[in-house]
């Protein structure tokens, strides 16, 4: 085989690989949209599920999903951003930072089903929170924590060192430099991490099914059980309850992720434009 010929073959394989990946994505989205979209109506979005999800809508699962994500973000953002600030602003590179980084990498590698089981044993049973938004929120926050730490760390590192110098010579404390200069400049990057983790959390089932439970009622208190959209979709399909409603739920999920991405993109650009 001539070198030129092998070059052509390699290029051909790579291009077809790239197109295959794209084609799979479009195929999945197309199937979900074709099978799901016809069943999405305003009533589907605003009615609670009836008869185990065979009839009615998915309103309570939307509420559960949002509630769950909000609780997990409330826990994970301060912890994650705090860890990132500590790692980048308050410590020198050394054994401690290495241990913390290694730990977060390991946490990212823990299979979600294990996290779900952990949450079930510790939070649901031992601590007696039961299947609840609280148990689910805490468990999910553990899952998204590594993403938030890593993206926040990168975002904070990319803030020019000279800002910290200026804060210093103008008589600011380190904390003032962080809150007034570093975090505002890093905010778009941190927001990206938060959105990534929302994307992961919204589709998560293993952790959620063990800790939030599967109740179809609207959760009000932190100790109420609920059923996220992803879990609802899983149960509808798995138990063969209603494939139509399963696809419709999946379509809503896909749209939500799309919407969140576009919204955050827009917000981020506005934010960056305002500060430049």
């Amino acid at each position: 085989m001539t070198p030129k010929r092998s070059e052509h073959i390699a290029l051909g394989l790579m291009v077809s690989g790239a197109f295959l990946a794209l084609a799979i994505l479009f195929f999945i989205i197309a199937v979900i949209m074709i099978k799901g979209l016809p069943h999405i109506t305003l009533r589907f979005l605003l009615d609670n599920p009836m008869d185990m999800g065979r009839a009615g809508g998915i309103f309570s699962t939307i509420v559960s999903t949002v509630y769950l994500l909000v609780v997990s973000l409330i826990i994970a953002i301060p912890l994650g951003v705090g860890t990132a600030i500590y790692l980048t602003e308050y410590t020198k590179e050394g054994l401690i930072t290495k241990i913390i980084r290694f730990g977060t990498e390991c946490l990212a590698g823990v299979p979600s089903i294990i996290l779900g089981l952990f949450g079930f044993i510790l939070l649901v049973i031992k601590l007696g929170f039961g299947w609840s938004v609280l148990s689910g929120g805490i468990s999910l926050s553990i899952m998204i924590l590594p993403v938030i730490i890593r993206t926040s760390e990168e975002a904070i590192k990319s803030v020019p060192a000279s800002y910290r110098d200026i804060n210093k010579v103008l008589g600011g404390t380190r904390w003032q430099g962080i809150t007034r200069l570093v975090l505002p400049s890093a905010a778009p990057g941190i927001l990206t991490g938060v959105i990534l983790s929302v994307g992961r959390g919204i589709g998560e089932t293993a952790v959620v099914i063990f800790t939030l439970g599967t109740s179809l009622r609207i959760p009000f208190s932190l100790f109420d059980s609920g059923r996220s959209m992803a879990v609802h979709f899983y149960l509808l399909a798995r138990e063969g309850i209603s494939m139509n409603n399963a696809y419709a739920t999946a379509a809503v999920l896909v749209f939500s992720i799309l919407f969140i991405n576009i919204l955050s993109y827009y917000l981020m650009h506005r934010f960056v434009a305002r500060r430049r």
Partner: protein, 252 residues
Amino acid sequence: MTEKIIMEAKDLSLQADGKDILRGISLQVYPKEIFGIMGPSGSGKTSFLRLANHTFKAREFSTQGQLFVLGEEVLEGDVAIIPLRRRVSMVFATPVVLPSSIFENLVYGLRVQGITDKHVLEEAAVKGLKAAILWDEVRDRLRTPAKKLSGGQQQRLCIARAMAMSPKILLLDEPTSGLDPISTFRIEEALKELKSKHTIVLVSNNTKQIARVTDRCAFLLMGDLIETGKTGQIFTVPKQRKTDDYIAGRFG
């Protein structure tokens, strides 16, 4: 230490990361003068400035001798660093404007002190701008992003930002090294105005600039103080051969 001396190094040595940065420096800076420090890069000029307001950066460093700033020995452990930095402000070689409006840049040093009174902030901002001769150029657009200013204007904004805090001493680390001659000229004019009320320490490896604007100066060479005295004298009848060679441009 007499009241006439505002900054004084006594046999000051500095080692950082295993290297000698300064070796036995002794010099005095008097009130309301522009004191120049010249020398090739790597001579310890910037390190000297950074010691004076406690912003010296190195993994490990040690000092011997003494450094008095405004009557206070600043190398001792118990010096109050933040009040010191408010009285001894600094401007860097590359202008660093913060990603906010011109006004917010100017008042940053006051905001971190907890000052929120609008009148106080505005007064300080105007004072800073006038001190840096930037007021006429930006008076109508204080709320626009500071990054829209030209490079020379940005550097004057940095000086204005330092002056808005009414420091006793202004440390300038090669403030015009990245600027065109006209911007440089404007900054030098501003400095000459400033010295009626403030003390300025100007670090530069531009000997002509040192000759133009400073009253007295020092020549640092690879960590050693070669000569210090009145600028006029140093540039006409230097006592040391090395000084003569440096200002004549034979090295450096």
